[in-house]
């Protein structure tokens, strides 16, 4: 026995420099299908409750875009046993913090409370999963529709470059593809959402068998399991939620568009279809993103910002999503710089990676940075709870959190070169944002 454990320790030390993350979590499922994940961390007397519903904007229908997110707002407006606006005020009076967020693939809700309020947090979360509709009114819907329209104005319409992501999505995807519309939705669709739409959406997706609940922090396990049973056990499941089946799309040609906007600095965004989150190249493309634009010594930063000084900043990276991924490069240029000049240098640098594998140091720098960032993300119980739900929802097992760094550890320079060759191809979406009246700065097609 002692021998075995010593051997084990040696093995553990051997892999330590690659991956030393060890988050213990217990997962079980209630009879109604709710996935429960518990993680103990006794360092501060607080507890995080974090629930993911496996529904995002990708589950919306054409003509009803923005619905998943509008719905997220409705979940803070009270339920059968929780008065209007009480969800926020009860958590805040308890000294807790809370919010929710919606993306293409999922909607999450989370609160961190002093641990003596954990039961109340579970009561609140469960009431809006099981008993939302009796409290839903037209008036509340109209009010939150106005709030969401203002969220859109603030984040998109009144924001420099704010419409970039929805314009690029429209270039990349057919109009029926679930990633073709923005999470926030369009003003027209938000206006069109009816109370009946809201109710149907709730009945379809806000059920225990489409959700996973994480409790992380300083709590009594047996007591917490009892509470979870008590508050969630009687919420009925719904059969027949079909997972979305969509293939990774591809572009048949290169596409180019330009938007004039009230901005001072031109900005170029080049986007390629790549691979979904669980695809083999996802982690490789993360490293490629670092090689191209992670830090001052990265290829694009060095060329565009440091040496030639024609750019203000650069970004490159893989957008990891469940159904389909994209890889993008964004360069904000200095005033009056032609985006054609920027594009030429971006292409030259990408060509170099395709022709010669990156150096070992570039790859190691990326791996080390990935590891550190991953550890930094685990500093709060709220952060850990959300990560556990991410790994459970995207990879099917919360324990994959402890293997996440393995995805990166084995990647070689040649893998990165091959991924660049495979994914950063001619068929791509090139989007220019130029100051109003300066269309001549757009990235024009190469006349080779």
């Amino acid at each position: 026995m002692r021998f075995i454990s010593t051997l084990f320790l040696l093995l553990a030390l051997a892999v330590c420099s690659l991956a030393q993350v060890n988050i213990q979590a217990e997962r079980y499922t209630l009879p109604n299908g709710l996935t429960v994940i518990l993680h103990q961390d006794k360092s501060v007397p607080i507890a995080a409750v974090n629930i993911w519903y496996h529904v995002g904007s990708a589950n919306e229908k054409v003509g009803r875009t923005g619905f998943a997110h509008l719905f997220e707002h409705m979940l803070f407006q009270g339920s059968q046993n929780v008065g209007d606006d009480q969800h926020f005020s009860l958590i805040q009076e308890a000294g807790g913090t809370l919010n929710g967020s919606t993306n293409n693939d999922r909607t999450n809700y989370f609160e961190t409370v002093p641990n003596n309020f954990l039961e109340m947090a579970l009561w609140l979360e469960s009431d809006r999963m099981g008993f939302l509709l009796p409290a839903m009114t037209q008036e509340k819907l109209d009010n939150q529709r106005d709030v969401v329209k203002n969220e859109r104005r603030q984040g998109v319409d009144n924001q420099p470059y704010g419409r970039t992501s929805e314009r690029v999505a429209a270039m990349l995807y057919e109009s029926t593809h679930p990633y073709s519309w923005p999470v926030i939705g369009s003003m027209e669709d938000l206006s069109a959402a009816s109370l009946e739409d809201v109710k149907e959406f709730f009945r379809n997706y806000y059920v225990p068998n489409n959700a996973s609940l994480v409790v992380a922090g300083d709590f009594d396990v047996a007591q917490t399991k009892e509470w979870i049973n008590k508050y969630y056990g009687d919420i009925p499941p719904r059969k027949g939620i079909e997972p979305l089946a969509v293939n990774q799309p591809a572009l048949a040609t290169e596409k180019r568009e330009t938007m004039e906007d009230r901005v001072q600095l031109p900005r170029l965004t080049i986007t390629w279809h790549s691979t979904p989150l669980t695809g083999q190249d996802d982690a490789v493309l993360d490293i490629l993103g670092d090689v191209l634009a992670g830090g001052k010594n990265s290829r694009l930063y060095k060329a565009l910002v440091y040496d030639k000084q024609i750019a203000q900043n650069v970004f490159a990276g893989q957008g990891s999503r469940a159904l389909a991924g994209t890889f993008s490069v964004t360069v904000t240029a200095k005033p009056d710089v032609s985006l054609s000049d920027v594009e030429k240098i971006v292409d030259e640098e990408i060509e170099k990676v395709k022709n010669t594998p990156p150096t070992d140091r570039e790859i190691q720098r990326s791996k080390n940075g990935t590891k550190a960032t991953f550890i930094y993300r685990l500093q709060s119980v709220g952060g850990k709870a959300d990560q556990l739900n991410w790994f459970n929802t995207m990879w099917g097992d919360p324990a994959t959190i402890n293997r996440e760094l393995d995805r990166y550890a084995k990647i070689t320079p040649i893998d990165v070169q091959n991924a660049a060759k495979k994914h950063l191809i001619k068929n791509r979406a090139v989007f220019s944002v130029v100051p109003t009246g300066k269309k001549e700065l757009e990235a024009k097609p190469m006349s080779n």
Binding site: S43, P45, N81, S89, G96, K334, A372
Partner: protein, 475 residues
Amino acid sequence: MKRLLLFLTIFCLTATVSGQIDRTKKPAPKAVAPLTLPKIQRASLANGLSIMLVEHHELPVVQCQLVLKSGSTQDPKGKSGLANLTAQLMDEGTTKRSALQVADDLDFIGANLSVSAAQDAMFASLLTIKEHLTSALDVYADVVLNPSFPEEEWNRVKKTHLASLMARKDQPAFVASSVFDILTYGVEHPYGQPSGGTEATVNAISVDDLKSFYNTYFKPNNGTLIIVGDVTMKEMKPMVEKYFGSWKKGSVSQPKFPAAPTIASTQIYLVDKPQAAQSEIRIGQVGVARNTDDYYAITVMNTILGGQFSSRINLNLRESKGYTYGARSSFAMQKEAGPFVASAAVKTSVTDSSVIEFMKELRGIRDADVTQKEFEFAVNSIVRRQPQGFETPGQIAGQLMSLVLYDLPDDYFNTSIQNIEKVTVKDVRRVAQKYLDPKAMNIVIVGDVATIKDGLEKLGYGAVHGVSADGQMMH
């Protein structure tokens, strides 16, 4: 134990089936679990550098935060932006490393280093995983002690900084806040100076100015090094000695502040952004310094007024009216009196209605006592929030930073809760009346003047004043 658990599970399921769960009752809180406040260990070096250390062994992470008690308020007249740019240049080359070497040495170990300037202080922060602590400290100390301010790096950073000053003018939220500060504090007061500078002031700055600013204020006796993480004082003290021991002390003067201008009557200032989808609103006046005896009463008062989601201002403008995605108010209680500001981005067509509602709330909290329910709500939420501020090394370092900046005692966190609990309903009204004067506030709005001007002129604050995005009055 296992049997008990099984029993409980069965019991619960049975209860569910027979509908015995009473969901109408909110579960009562259990007994409060005590928070162990971080034990602050202190030491210092012969050169005057103070060290504060808190052990935090949950993850193999170390956070360092060097605080220097001089900031952009020390920018010389005509050279605003100097503190900010000095900070930006510090990791752009040292006597031992080029700019690219500094970045590569840090990126290779996944450490985050940043140097920044605020109004009252400058910060150099480092976050690293413990296995790379020595390498990370080596670069950190190099950046703090030996910056070389290379001319060519300065030319590059300056160019980038000028472009970002241009780009900021595209952001209505930034323009609104900066115009508000300029109008409220005037050109003579350091809080009225844009901390990033302007095109003119940045162009007036030279490498020699950066060096001289650094040489004047980056002194160990002007600084405190806060360390929080998977370390002990026993292991850190020799390392701090090794890396920071050669830093030379010097005398550092503190700035003198002129009085901020007084506001004779509430006026509206408009910055035009044609066809804007929203109006960015800032309403406020000069507030109060951090060392006020009314700190706790003001904190409770502002929590009720606009300090969190469930506050009067947000519940009214967002949840009741649907004018905005979020509305709030805050007191910037700094070394000197920072501003009180109420703010929101609202739909263009309800700009005037929003100002009416803001002013109604600003008067309301003065004109009547807050309800007992609101009062308890605010006190509870502040008191019970305390443990969440001490979770991560970064948060703990942030808490310690406030001790350093505002000369608070080490037992401050033990007494602050009691002091909040001493505040009364009468205190809330008293400080509202003392520190909020709706008759003497600046109302700054960035929006579509053609659409919003007429409505705003009917509110009783006289003709609106046109202002440029730089805060200059237009005639």
